[in-house]
Symmetry: C2
Subunit: 343 residues, 2 copies
Amino acid sequence: MTMKHTGGRRKPPTIHDVAREAGVSRGTVSRVLNGGHYVSPAAQEAVNAAIRKTGYVVNRHARSLITGRSDSVGFLLTEPQERFFEDPNFNVLLRGCTQALAAHDIPLLLMIAGTEAERRRITRYITAGHVDGVLLVSSHSGDPLAERLRDAGVPLVACGKPIGHTSKVSYVAADDRDGARDMVRHLLALGRRRIGTITGPLDTPGGVERLAGYREVLAEAGVPYDERLVVTGDYSHAGGEAGAAELLRRDPGLDALFVASDLMAQGALSALHRAGRRVPEDIAVGGFDDSPAATSTDPALTTIRQPWDRISTEMVRVLLAQIGGEDPAAVILPTELIRRAST
Amino acid sequence: MTMKHTGGRRKPPTIHDVAREAGVSRGTVSRVLNGGHYVSPAAQEAVNAAIRKTGYVVNRHARSLITGRSDSVGFLLTEPQERFFEDPNFNVLLRGCTQALAAHDIPLLLMIAGTEAERRRITRYITAGHVDGVLLVSSHSGDPLAERLRDAGVPLVACGKPIGHTSKVSYVAADDRDGARDMVRHLLALGRRRIGTITGPLDTPGGVERLAGYREVLAEAGVPYDERLVVTGDYSHAGGEAGAAELLRRDPGLDALFVASDLMAQGALSALHRAGRRVPEDIAVGGFDDSPAATSTDPALTTIRQPWDRISTEMVRVLLAQIGGEDPAAVILPTELIRRAST
DNA sequence: TTCTCTACTGTGAACGCTCACAGAAGCATG
DNA sequence: CATGCTTCTGTGAGCGTTCACAGTAGAGAA
């Protein structure tokens, strides 16, 4: 009796134990484990019974050592600031990816590259083959880390369209431009004509595309473009507040506002409220994201819903396809206008 | 030229390559890799140079295969609902744990156990030794999964005190009770006497402890306990709204409100606003959590800050210690009253 | 000198798995 | 009867590490 009795973990069964139990060889067990081709029904059944009986679970390290695959993927966040962790969409994305991967029995490794030291460490880790692919979430595009990984031949899928890259890199994105178009069309349909906008940072795809949609629709409607009605925001509450105040100052006759994120829209509502404007009577306000906060503002926010649940599943799908040898692909998903009280 | 030119990954250098490059044996390289004991300075230097030159990164699968350790830990979320992903504290926790682990070069595997099928899959995965330990985040305690893992001898650290378990399981928690005491004392100091509370779910440690703190301080102050001033909430916006409305109905003379979470407090503020009560003039409102939302309410919320950054570092510290063979430990961290405009 | 001790180094044997290959058995075809 | 094909099964090698062990060299003590 040399075994420790204080929560000691027993040595788990190996493929050998299963083989002995089933009366077959390691090879046959391995074949059952990997799809069951070229295995007789009798052996198949015997092996499955032995697996159930022994409680066998494959040792992924041993498998990875020989296959060269790790059967895991990284979820990489490259963000100097903590912004992503304040973004409710990020949660949905992370959760969705985790679960979509879990369906394939693939664990997700969370990696956060804030400092330069972290970037180096993570690059080494990834390029050493410790993950089979990377789900990349970074707001500011043109990320050197993304390039390094791509150059190293690591399967990669970005969330949102990377700008500045002409190279082939997979991405999955909501149709930002079309969403913005829907919102501005909606505001026009309400009879509004002095429509201001608070954009996202213009080094982000969302910032650029949503502004483009805004301009396109106004142009199509014959409303002359007025650059005084455009301010650049930073996706923060404070930024939205400042942006709205600035727009009111530039044009007190403003009758609608398209804000490129709900969080900024929330800030804008505060500023409008403080300025004595009624929403939506005096100024209609449209947001973007359909974050949980959108329903708890007063009035509840009309916004554009991005299909985050589908985005995560698509990212995983495209990444796994790429790991499987397929070429990079771009997927663009439609958005949806959610009408609430603010317009 | 048989090498694929389309992003093919080269075979990475092994310990053998490093040994050859440095003119030493595998054993010496391995010793350098694992602390460098019993290695001459000359060999040490030669190996380090060779590692730099070859770009060698240890193959963790090969290492894990023989050591039996995986050098990774799981971050396990056992939540039937999506609640955690709406909780901003959760983000801070996840981020903090990831980074604290990264400092030890240990990857974090995110696991979400929603359905029963997922629980089984994850249990198998963990007990098979694919992670060295688990950081457990579950709101509702008495989780069968936690018990199963503990019984399997898996190192485990919970976030928040597990209730219902008399057994020894490590945990790290903020001092909920003391935080609640601070808040209620603060409200008393403001001269308030009809102090209501909206609790968290009473099957969560936070729900129980914060209510206990509330009762203790009132008792110490000689304020008779009035159960009509206590309603049970669910940590949701809507729950806070309903709770505040109910309390106003039960006692229109209410002059203070201690709400067990900021999100509920936000809901409560809406309800009070709708009922025509001024905050803090008519009713002082105190929250709990110091979530980002606390500063964007109107008025800004007085609240109790939980040291989430320290909680995450402590969880990691305790878990690694336990993996290293130390006994389970409980860590309780102090909270801080953050005074803002709502009191 | 000889022995012991310490500091260091190299080597073979695992770890648990997959893969390539060799073979066996069954059956049809020449 | 040989030959080929298909379906199935077992075996040896090897993936890249660590670990235990055996050794070597040099210093100091007997």
